[in-house]
C-alpha cells in the first residue's frame, strides 16, 4: 500500500474544475445511455411505432381512416409532428424524473454525484442537459417512422432551421419538466406520473389534432394552453407541414423557452432542497 501517496489535489481555478466535473458527469450519463441503448430504444420506440402503425396504416387499410380519404392523408401528416412531440416529452420525464425519484427515494446514488466538485445547481443542470439529449435522440428516432409507416402519402415541407429550433427548445423544456417532476414525486407516486401527468398531457396536447381545430370547444381550447406539449406539437407541425393549421412559430419558440426556463428554475430549487439539508 506504500504506493498510495497523498499529495495536495490539483487546485486550479474553481470554474475550470467545475466545468471538467460537469463534462465528466455528462460523459457518465452518455456512457450509461450507450450501455443501455437497447432498453432506451424499447421504451422510446414502442409507443410512437404503434401509434403510427394503428392510426396511419391499419385504419386507412381497413377503411376506418380518421378523416376518410384525403382526410386520412391530412391526419397522417399532422400526426407525425404530434407523435414526435409527445415522444420527446415522454422521454424527458423518463430520462430525468424516474432516475431522480429512485435516487432520492432509495438508491441514494445521487449522494455521490453531489460530492463532485461543482455547485449543486450545476449537477441539476447536467441532468437536464443529459435528459435533453435523450429527448432529442428519441425525437429523431421517431422521424423515419412518420415517413415509412403511413399507408397514405404524407405531405411534409420541412423548414429545417425552424425544426432544429423547435426540437432543441422542446428537448430542453421536456428535460426541465422531468427535473421538476423528479424532485417532487415520491417513489410510491410514480404510477401517478403516468396517470395524472403523461396521459392527460398527451391526449390534451394537440398530438392528434391541430390546436386550432378545437375552436368549437372554446373552453377546452383555452384550457389546454396550460399544457406545454401543445406548443411543442404545434411547433413540430409548423416546421414540418404547410397544409395543416398551426400556431405562429414565434409564439411556440417563446413559450417553449419560457416554460423550459421556469421549470428549470423551479426544478433546480427543488433539487437543492432534496440534496441539501
Amino acid at each position: 500500500m506504500a504506493a498510495i501517496t497523498i499529495t495536495a489535489p490539483p487546485t486550479g481555478p474553481t470554474q475550470a474544475t467545475a466545468k471538467a466535473a460537469f463534462l465528466a458527469l455528462l460523459a457518465r450519463d452518455l456512457t450509461v445511455l450507450r450501455k443501455e441503448f437497447k432498453m432506451f430504444l424499447a421504451r422510446t420506440v414502442m409507443q410512437p411505432l404503434l401509434l403510427m402503425f394503428v392510426f396511419t396504416y391499419v385504419f386507412p387499410k381497413i377503411g376506418q381512416g380518421v378523416g376518410g380519404g384525403a382526410g386520412a392523408a391530412r391526419f397522417s401528416t399532422l400526426l407525425v409532428g404530434g407523435v414526435i412531440a409527445s415522444t420527446m416529452i415522454f422521454q424527458g420525464i423518463q430520462a430525468v424524473a424516474l432516475p431522480l425519484v429512485q435516487d432520492f427515494g432509495f438508491t441514494r446514488e445521487i449522494e455521490d454525484r453531489v460530492l463532485a466538485p461543482l455547485p449543486v445547481s450545476a449537477i441539476a443542470l447536467e441532468k437536464v442537459v443529459a435528459g435533453g439529449v435523450q429527448a432529442l435522440v428519441a425525437g429523431l428516432l421517431v422521424f423515419p417512422m412518420g415517413l415509412f409507416i403511413p399507408a397514405t402519402a404524407i405531405d411534409l415541407h420541412i423548414n429545417y432551421p425552424l425544426l432544429a429550433a423547435v426540437m432543441i427548445l422542446g428537448a430542453f423544456m421536456s428535460a426541465s419538466l422531468g427535473l421538476f417532476v423528479g424532485t417532487r414525486v415520491e417513489p410510491r407516486q410514480v404510477p401517478l406520473i403516468f396517470g395524472l401527468l403523461v396521459i392527460p398531457m398527451t391526449f390534451l396536447g394537440a398530438v392528434y389534432y391541430p390546436w386550432q381545430s378545437l375552436e368549437p370547444l372554446r373552453w377546452l381550447q383555452i384550457l389546454v394552453l396550460a399544457n406545454p406539449l401543445v406548443y411543442l406539437s404545434e411547433g413540430m407541425r409548423s416546421s414540418l407541414t404547410t397544409g395543416v393549421p398551426h400556431m405562429a412559430w414565434p409564439v411556440v419558440l417563446l413559450v417553449l423557452a419560457g416554460a423550459g426556463a421556469l421549470l428549470l428554475r423551479v426544478g433546480v430549487a427543488g433539487f437543492r432542497r432534496r440534496v441539501l439539508s
Binding site: 500500500m1 460523459a27 457518465r28 449522494e111 466538485p117 461543482l118 439539508s277
Partner: protein, 353 residues
Amino acid sequence: MTTMINGAGEADAVIRTRQLRKVYAGAPAFGGFAPPGARPGGPPVGRPPGADPKRPRDAAVDSLDLDVGRGEIFGLLGPNGAGKTTTIGMLTTRIVPTSGSAMVAGVDVVADPAAAKQHIGVVTQTNTLDRALTVRENLIFHGRYFGMTNKQAKAESDRLLEVFRLTDKSTVGVQTLSGGLAQRLMVARSIMHRPSVLFLDEPTAGLDPQTRLSLWELIRELNADGQTVLLTTHYMEEADSLCGRLAIMDHGRILALDTPDGLKRSVDADTVVTVTAGGDAGQLATALATATGVVKAEATPRGVEVHMRGGAGIVPRLMATAADAGFDVSDVSVAEPSLETVFIQLTGKDLRD
C-alpha cells in the same frame, strides 16, 4: 503519527470548526447524512442536559469546536443521534449549518462548497456506488469528476483496484458485490482524487468481524501514507484501536476530547472490577462500596461494577468484603477502564442503550 492532545496547531489544522451548530427546520433531506433521530414525528434530537431553555430544543449539533491536524485519525464516538453524522454532513457540504463556521483544508465549506468538495473524500453509511456502472467504471468516472483525464483516471483506477484487491471484480456490476467488497470499493473511490481529508461515516457498521478487521488495516495503511481521516463510530473497540484522538459526543455536543488513553485516565479509577454473585445486587454494591480503595460500586445488568484505585490486593479484599456480607461470589472480572467506562461516567448511560 503525531498525537495532538491540545488540538492541531494553527497551520496544521485540516479541519477547523468554531461554534458549529445545526438545527433542523423540519424533516431533514433524504439520505445517509440525516441523523436517525431527526425524522418527522420522531423524538427531538440532541437536547443537551442543562442547555439554555430559550434555545430551540432540537439542535442536532451545538457549539462544536473541532481542530483536526494533518495526518490524524480522528474519531467521533457516540450513540445514534449524538450528532456525529450531522457533523460529517456539515463538513462535507451536504448539510448547511445553522450557524458557526467550518473550514476544510483552508476552504470555508459554507461559503465555497464546490471548492471544498475538491478536498474531501467521503464514505457514507449507505452504498452510493453507481449501479449503472461496473466496478472499474465507478473509479474511472469518479476520477474524471475530479478533473483527471480519461487516461489518468484509467491508470489510477487500475492501480487502486490492485491495491484494494478488486482487480478480478473490475468488470462486474457493483450490485453483485458483497457488503465488504462494496465498502472497499467505496473507500477506494473516496481516495481516488487524493482528498485532504477522508470522511468515514460508521465505516464498519454492518460488516462481519473479519471484514471489519481488514477495513481497519486498510485505514491504518492509508493513514501511514499520510491520509488524514475523520471517522464516526459507535464501536468502542474501533475508536480505541484506530483513533489517535477522539471526541466523545452526545446530544450534539462534545463531552470530552483526548487520546483514547487520556480519556481512560480521566476515569476516577485505575481498575474496574465486575463482581457477580447470587442475591440482591444492590445490597452487594452497598457492601462492596465499603472496601478499601473502592471509589464507586454500582449494580449493572452485568453484575456489580466496582471502580477502584490503588493497585495490589484489591481482588482478595473485595472477595473478603463480599464473603463477610454473606454473598457467594460466582464470577469476578478485572479490567482497566475502557472507553465504555468513560462514556458511562460522562453521560450516565451505556453506549449501547
